[in-house]
């Protein structure tokens, strides 16, 4: 059995770090793990997506269509781009923070709020978090990926100590406490 997780968001939101931490936790928990992402121009506000797969044996590094067990959306609308991966059992972990796409920022398009509400109904379960606020309360808004990882760890019913060990090993030592606090706020 292979579990498939999509992490989606906007360049600069720390998706690559968060997905690396998730992979590290799955490896520690004894699974085979693969991850694939497109990060050629990730720092420039473009859409970023990371495919994470773990199980006894994983072949393809990308998730098949309709194959997502969980989508972690680091931004309020970004999960919509990966609607082709949703099935009746898919769980959505959603950061309610909005980042305006350029056309919306220029006043030439609307932020798709109605579409978001409509699509949320298609998930088996939706967990909403204001991850930026949770991270800010933990001490640094830049740690906004951590509450989402906390929620993910909980949804997967995994040992949170493994995740906290991997987080400690992955972030700059000065920021460990803030990141762990932010992670726990989502757990």
């Amino acid at each position: 059995m292979v579990k498939n997780i999509i992490m989606a968001g906007v360049g600069g939101q720390g998706i690559i770090l968060a997905s690396n931490i998730a992979c590290g936790a799955f490896l520690q928990a004894g699974f085979d793990v693969k991850k694939s992402e497109i990060h050629g121009m990730a720092q420039r506000g473009g859409s970023v997506v990371s495919h994470i797969r773990f199980g006894d044996k994983v072949y393809s590094p990308v998730i098949p269509s309709g194959g997502a067990h969980i989508i972690v959306s680091f931004e309020n609308m970004e999960f919509l781009r990966y609607s082709g991966f949703i099935n009746a059992g898919t769980v959505l972990i959603l950061n309610t923070r909005k980042i305006m796409p350029p056309a919306v920022a220029m006043g030439n398009a609307e932020y798709p709020s109605d579409t978001i509400d409509e699509w949320k109904k298609k998930f088996a379960c939706v967990y909403e978090i204001d991850a930026d606020k949770a991270a800010e309360e933990a001490g640094n808004i830049k740690a906004a990926g951590m509450p989402l990882l906390g929620e993910l760890c909980k949804v997967l019913n995994m040992d949170k100590n493994i995740w906290e060990d991997v987080i400690s090993a992955s972030v700059p030592p000065k920021t460990t406490d803030v990141n762990i606090r932010a992670f726990r706020s989502g757990f």
Binding site: C23, K34, I38, G40, S60, M100, A103, A105, E110
Partner: protein, 579 residues
């Protein structure tokens, strides 16, 4: 010990475990991180070269001097490095020499999707193709052994889904830096016709030996389906997932292909299929060897996936929701505070045609700036502007500029500028000097003042360099002084000789000290004229209901450009600090 690694980290680890002594590369997505990981291994001499040809030649020299050497590049980088590869195939090597070349099927961040396997065939050198990070490490080590065993440069082909995927790798021991004696062998290393004729025969003989060796490296996996599939690289992973009942023939060396073994496999499986991305290289070669291949309606463009393989074999696809379309897109954009934005805005206001180049500034093509009109290959903008200028007797030069970054100019732009001056052109070249190679992740270059290992280095001075090749009109401008940029652009495009305009602001990632407290819109002064939104700054948002602009303090770098273009002084110093 097991570790989860990207393909790129695993390539570096493989070279480290093989005792590589010298690595020289030019950055290019998706290959860049290999050399960055190498630079963290203290004993290995590593360099960012000025271009891929220089890097490959430096690696060839290191091999001659008796050290295992490697050069890493993206697929189009090999076009430039093909010159030392083609004749390096004839000379052969002393210590092992490995080229890692990363293709980009589907062009996630490239200008074409050429298939590098063609180069192995063209240069008559062996090519290995790993399918995950473990093989990336193992095949890199193997490549050094093959290189020495057959005295040949070896290409290891990667691609985006190998370089930028992560999977589990079992780590080995670091070897001592490998050392052989410096080789002085004139017949081998001086490719004058008399020697090269002999070497060509040796190359053809070598290819036969390599083909036999290729058979030893191939893997056959049994299946119950009564059919066989030849596949390698990441396509192998897709086949394993999509067709669990297939018999599989997986060559490790994809050039030369082990044809005897493939023929044997074809006999045992009955029906033979080939699954490969991009060019039908395996298919053509296998058919040419007289082996029957079952047809598949494969697309020659883009990348495969397990879904695509299932579809090729008429397997059932999972049911999915209808895809949500018509979402506002998020194309990569010039960063808030990007030093290119001001002069692009000036160019856009003057409606200048711009011969662009490869780098972050290619993103100037996006609305609302619409400031880039061509992008072909590294350095092309300068020479294309010259051709357009000369062919129209100066008409084109009056309304166009070439735009090129510092790293790209030193890569292949300088030769074009020398040519423009020598051939009496009148074109205008804008060098966007932001002190760093931005698009690939802020690597230093010969104008940055430091090396890959962060040691201080001489920084090329563009005004002196351009003066030395005969440019008389050289202007240095602040790219955020829009009025000055417009005046200088106008003067220089009108001038009847070659001009160079050099911008002088660093990338916000090259010099973090340029980041200032964020700005804010004073709503009582904002008239809703929308001029600030024409800069295309990601930090500026238009609120349609309030008919006012606003600035996201978390994104704003306080660059002041929007303050300069606002005619109502509605943008003021804010209170928030950047991130």
């Amino acid at each position: 010990m097991n570790k989860i690694m990207s393909g790129n980290e695993a390539f570096a680890r493989g070279a480290f475990e093989a005792g590589v002594g010298f690595v020289s590369s030019y950055p290019g997505t998706p290959s860049t991180e290999i050399t960055e990981f190498i630079s963290k291994y203290g004993d290995i001499v590593s360099e960012w070269a000025s271009n891929e040809k220089v890097a490959a030649e430096a690696a060839l020299g290191a091999s001659l001097a008796g050290r295992r050497a490697m050069t890493c590049m993206k697929h189009v980088g090999l076009n430039l490095a093909s010159e030392p590869l083609m004749t390096g195939s004839y000379t052969g090597v002393n210590a092992g020499l490995v080229f890692i070349v990363a293709d980009d099927p589907n062009m996630h961040s490239s200008q074409n999707e050429q298939d590098s396997r063609n180069y192995a065939r063209f240069a008559k050198v062996p090519m290995l193709e790993p399918s995950d990070s473990q093989e990336a490490k193992d095949f890199t080590k193997l490549a050094f052994e093959i290189s020495e065993k057959f005295s040949v440069p070896v290409i290891v082909r990667s691609e985006t889904r190998v370089s930028h995927s992560m999977s589990v790798v079992s780590l080995g021991e670091q070897a001592e830096i490998f050392k052989k004696d410096f080789e002085k062998d004139t017949d081998k290393w001086v490719m004058v016709p008399a020697n090269a004729r002999r070497r060509h025969r040796a190359v053809e003989e070598r290819l036969k030996c390599l083909q036999a060796y290729s058979g030893l490296l191939a893997k056959v996996e049994k299946g119950e389906g009564g059919y066989g599939v030849v596949c390698s690289g990441v396509a192998y992973q897709y086949v394993k997932e999509a067709l669990p009942d297939a018999c599989i023939f997986k060559p490790a060396m994809v050039w030369p292909l082990p044809m005897k073994e493939i023929a044997e496999f074809a006999r045992t499986v009955g029906k033979l299929y080939v699954v490969e991305e991009l060019d039908p290289i395996f298919e053509t070669e296998i058919k040419a060897a007289g082996i029957d291949v079952e047809p598949l309606p494969r697309d020659l463009c883009g990348e495969l996936s397990q879904d695509a393989v299932r579809a090729l074999f008429n397997k059932e696809l999972p049911e999915t929701e209808e895809v949500c379309s018509e979402l506002p897109v998020r194309p990569p954009n010039l960063c808030p505070g990007c030093s290119h934005r001001g002069i692009f805005y000036a160019m856009s206001r003057l409606k200048l045609f711009s011969f662009g180049d490869i780098g972050c500034y290619t993103l100037g093509l996006l609305p609302p700036l619409n400031a880039v009109n061509t992008t072909v290959c590294m350095g092309a903008g300068v020479s294309m502007a010259h051709g357009a200028d000369r062919a129209t007797n100066g008409d084109a030069a009056g309304k166009s500029v070439a735009v090129i970054g510092d790293s790209t100019f030193l890569h292949t732009g300088l030769a074009g500028l020398i040519n423009s001056v020598y051939n009496k052109g009148v074109s205008t070249v804008v060098i966007l000097d932001n002190r760093i190679t931005g698009m690939t992740g802020h690597q230093p270059n010969p104008a940055s003042g430091f090396t890959i290992k962060k040691e201080p280095a001489y920084a090329v001075k563009f005004p002196e360099l351009c003066a030395a090749v005969g440019v008389k009109r050289i202007r240095v401008v602040d790219p955020f002084d829009v009025e000055e940029c417009m005046r200088v652009l106008k003067e220089e495009t009108e001038a009847k000789e070659v001009s160079v305009i050099i911008t002088n602001r660093p990338c916000i990632f090259a010099d973090r000290s340029v980041i200032k407290p964020s700005l804010a819109v004073n709503a009582s002064k904002c008239t809703g004229c929308k001029i600030c939104t024409r800069l295309g700054c990601p930090a500026i948002t238009w609120d349609n209901s309030a008919r006012k602009a606003s600035i996201d303090p978390a994104m704003c770098t306080g660059c002041d450009l929007c303050m300069k273009v606002c005619r109502f002084s509605a943008i003021e110093k804010g209170e928030g600090r950047h991130g």
